[in-house]
């Protein structure tokens, strides 16, 4: 097995086994989505209107919740130093860790979203669009989040600063993701999904470099 493949498997195992954060992120996502009808009322027409925005925001928050474990746990016990010494470049390692994070948070959130969309009274085409937009958009959340995770690595309680750094950067994902669903509800066509895909591809390709630079400066010295 190549070093990157074993790193990917290791990270997935860590996230899914006892003490991992994958299941917690899912539970958080569902709990936030449950609070919204309690806050705004049970009117299904209204809930369908706000569903895409609420579920997108909840998904972003749930993914952020588990981000501090992306590098932090390995940094704390010293294994990040060893991983960084391995033959693959730190950029490739960052990309692998982002992929592992997405597979254990973004993807499960996407898979759970049709159920929540149904509970929010979304019509079938809108549910399909919501799921598709989350599938396309959540890699950007993991990727941009990894930059924040790298930057806050050496900070005690960095988890508090992380959302402030990352949330403004994720505004385009929420706008295009919820916008794509909104366009389906309005029966209009929009380029939202393509814009979301462009944003996601650019973020996923460029972020590993910034995240690796951030990790490197925290490992040096």
């Amino acid at each position: 097995m190549t070093p990157l493949a074993s790193l990917l498997l290791r990270d997935i195992r860590l996230a899914t086994r006892a003490g991992g954060s994958a299941a917690l992120a899912l539970a958080f996502f569902a709990a936030v989505a449950t609070l919204v009808p309690l806050g705004v009322g049970a009117d299904l027409a209204l809930l369908a209107r706000v569903a895409a925005g609420v579920l997108w925001v909840a998904a972003v928050l749930a993914a952020l919740l588990s981000l501090d474990r992306l590098f932090q746990a390995d940094f704390d016990d010293g294994s990040l130093d060893l991983i960084a010494l391995a033959p693959p470049s730190l950029e490739a390692i960052a990309a692998t860790k982002i992929a592992a994070h997405w597979l254990t948070t973004g993807l499960p959130l996407t898979l759970l979203s049709p159920l929540l969309g149904l509970m929010f009274g979304l019509p079938p085409q809108a549910i399909a669009m919501l799921t598709l937009s989350l599938l396309i958009g959540t890699p950007a959340v993991s990727a941009l989040g990894a930059i924040g995770a790298g930057l806050t690595l050496a900070i005690r309680r960095g988890g508090l600063i992380l959302p402030l750094l990352v949330l403004p950067l994720l505004a385009p994902a929420v706008i295009f993701g919820a916008g794509a669903v909104g366009a389906v509800l309005d029966r209009t066509s929009s380029g939202a999904l393509l814009l979301l895909a462009a944003f996601s591809v650019a973020a996923t390709l460029l972020s590993p470099f910034a995240a690796a630079a951030a990790v490197r400066l925290n490992l040096a010295g």
């Binding site: 050496a154 960095g158 402030l164 403004p168 505004a171 916008g179 951030a214 400066l217």
Partner: protein, 240 residues
């Protein structure tokens, strides 16, 4: 003696800025004063009445806030590429100024929005992207404050500033796209096709004044930061 190396270039900056600051300050007072006085003397707008005069504070504040982010990102790039200590200081000290100008733009925008739109806050494209800009500034400042080691903080904040600079146009575009999607709000901007001279001159003067004000304050802040670091080095040497 690493401390001498760190102070080598800042010394020249201290001398140069000490000479420049009085002129810069004088020009600031002149431009800003002339802009504000002419702004007050300007006739009321045929649609907006006297509230149009908020423009002479609002628009320059917004210009300066964006310029500040550009300069901060540029200084961060210089700091990351050449590891120039003065660039670190320049980027660090630009951020709170930029945040204040952003806040000023938001507050004056809100005060202008109340009579014009009938609401203190409207989710207008520019106001919203400015709110996001404020969060970018706050995140940058928070990151600087959270990391104790100064060189490490400078590099982390520098990476964040560059990531933000790449993202800012995208955020701006997405917010523009978002407001055209959610149309139907009472978004009408008067101002007309062209802006008449009685408004243009005070605006330009005030814009120059705000820019000069930013550079004066920036210079003072850089000087303060250098002197503070120097004092800290002296304290450390005294303690050793």
């Amino acid at each position: 003696m690493p401390s001498l190396f760190v102070l080598a270039n800042p010394k020249r900056f201290l001398d140069l800025s000490a000479t420049l600051l009085p002129y810069l300050g004088g020009a600031t007072v002149l431009c800003l004063g002339a802009g504000i006085v002419l702004g007050f003397l300007a006739p009321p707008d045929y649609q907006q009445g006297d509230t149009v005069k908020i423009m002479f504070l609002h628009v320059p504040a917004a210009w300066t806030a964006m310029m500040a982010y550009g300069l901060m990102a540029l200084a961060s790039l210089v700091s990351l590429v050449w590891r120039h200590p003065l660039a670190d200081v320049a980027a660090k000290t630009a951020a709170p100024l930029g945040a204040v100008f952003t806040l000023l733009g938001l507050v004056t925008g809100s005060l202008w929005g109340k009579p014009m739109w009938g609401a203190w806050w409207v989710w207008d494209a520019r106001l919203t992207s400015f709110l996001l800009l404020l969060f970018l500034y706050l995140g940058y400042i928070a990151l600087w404050n959270a990391i104790e080691d100064e060189t490490r903080a400078a590099r982390a904040a520098g990476i964040l500033a560059l990531v933000g600079a790449v993202n800012l146009p995208i955020i701006e575009f997405s917010v523009d796209w978002w407001t055209t999607l959610h149309q139907g709000e009472s978004i009408f901007r008067a101002g007309g096709p062209t802006i008449s001279g009685v408004f243009l001159w005070p605006l330009l003067l005030s814009g120059a004044g705000f820019t000069l004000l930013f550079f004066s304050l920036w210079m003072i802040r850089i000087r303060t930061e250098i002197l503070e670091r120097r004092a800290r080095v002296l304290l450390l040497e005294g303690a050793a």
